[in-house]
Symmetry: C3
Subunit: 211 residues, 3 copies
């Protein structure tokens, strides 16, 4: 597979993830009875927030999500779908987790890759890869006054993102960035789905006020 | 009207908007029984937050709100007014919506204008223009654990900002940026006031759990 | 004392502050019954958030907290301590306020110093110094859906940070930046502890709805 084809493939996965998460943001906007502006805002936070946080922290120019029109238009498209259609049913229940898991892997891998490409080391790469993958959802939750689900009320989600970013970084230092993108993404997506299916989660801390 | 006079006029409108929104932030700080630090923080978020988010996303240098002393001092002035005086009564009830509508138009137009001036295209211009106008209030609402009113519980507010930024962008591409500033600002302010008076709002989504 | 030794000393105080605040973030994560990801996130927000906000606003490159590995590793270390040990008891009750007060002084002084070093003036220096000192805790509170305690429900905390940053700025303009770091830090730490001990707080605004 050539480099260009791989780039195109990842752009496709990336935008599919933006769409799926934007629709999820729109579904939450419906629960809150928002108007179209609220749908657009939540869809954008969900779908684009992680990448925007990453690019803002990296400080290597205006976030891609603002300069590449496909991102904003895809996010708004997801908002429109969620506003017009009452998204639910079997297709969504099965399809969303798969698309979301692929997006998580893709975002963690590309986030780490971009950080390494900007000349930073392995630790920021793992951190910013993880933030790319889970930051948008966390931002959306905070705006909705919910404690981010990635902090505990969830099957493994941030953990596969950390692993994905770490694997991507390992392949990058090994001189195989393209192969790393593919392997890390599939690993992250697979682990996320497996955890969801098997209800794996990290052990919660005990409340200090409990006996 | 010369370019310099226009710049001065818009700076005046801009700072008036900062003052009005800073006072509003202070009024909310009083409702929450904050101390002076809380007044200063809420006033600054309300009055300066939108521009700071815009400049942080644009990544073209330290936000103007930090480098141009007039902004911070105006915001702190608004906080002080709200702390000392119990702002309310007819003058505030009539005056605030007018100043706020003017600020919304001014911020959306100047936000779009600055984005275009930084070399970005029409889509980021409309987005960042809108964020400049409504971002500060949304940030303030999130910090106060309120769902941002721009997401639904309001007469048209973000919508006029979108239109203002779009009109500004249209004039900019047509080669009349100064005229665009004036027209777009007045249009945005007028539409915001009209919507408030006529109680226009966007249709809310229905709750999916409702029958 | 040589410049290098002073730099090392402040790095030590800085990292001690990161550790203490990261542990505090972890203690709050336990109250919320988070999983390890939540511990790591809250600890990082608490310990590193202020500096990250400062560096993002300054726009002088990727935040130090991401590029200097010691910061992230210290924050994660604090998270791990809070996850494994139920941090409480006399040692914590006495030790934490002292370390936290030292960190507040150190962060306000170094934040102002870094802003001045980037060529900005006294007003942004005081602002960003203060944000460095209190921004991380405020960010953590917002994510936990709590109104930031610095806005009112506290003994003097942001106020000493403002004073520390102002004193640092004054020494900087007077040509004694190193001496300023030491004096401002000690002043801020001392005032914070004194306020805590004497229960000094700023006067709260009265609720406008009260008689």
């Amino acid at each position: 597979m050539s480099g260009t084809a791989l780039t195109e493939l990842f752009r496709g996965i990336d935008l599919t993830g933006v769409l799926a998460n934007a629709v999820l943001g729109g579904v939450m906007a419906r629960e809150e009875r928002f108007d179209p502006i609220g749908f657009a805002a939540l869809a954008s936070l969900s779908g684009l927030g992680g990448g925007i946080i990453r690019d803002t922290l990296l400080q290597h120019g205006t976030p891609v999500a603002l300069t590449d029109y496909a991102y904003v238009l895809t996010a708004l498209c997801g908002a429109a779908v969620a506003y017009v259609v009452r998204v639910r049913g079997r297709l969504w229940d099965i399809g969303f987790p798969v698309l979301d898991a692929l997006a998580l892997g893709c975002w963690a891998a590309t986030g780490a890759s971009k950080t390494l490409g900007a000349g930073l080391g392995w630790l920021p790469a793992v951190l910013l890869g993880t933030i790319t993958a889970v930051g948008g959802g966390a931002l959306r939750d905070v705006v909705l006054r919910r404690v981010p689900t990635i902090f505990g009320d969830n099957t493994l989600y941030a953990t596969p993102a950390v692993l994905t970013a770490a694997v991507m970084t390992w392949f990058f230092y090994g001189g195989h960035p393209s192969l790393g993108l593919v392997v890390a993404t599939l690993l992250g997506a697979g682990l996320t789905l497996l955890a969801r299916w098997q209800r794996w989660s990290l052990p919660h801390a005990k409340d200090p006020r409990a006996k």
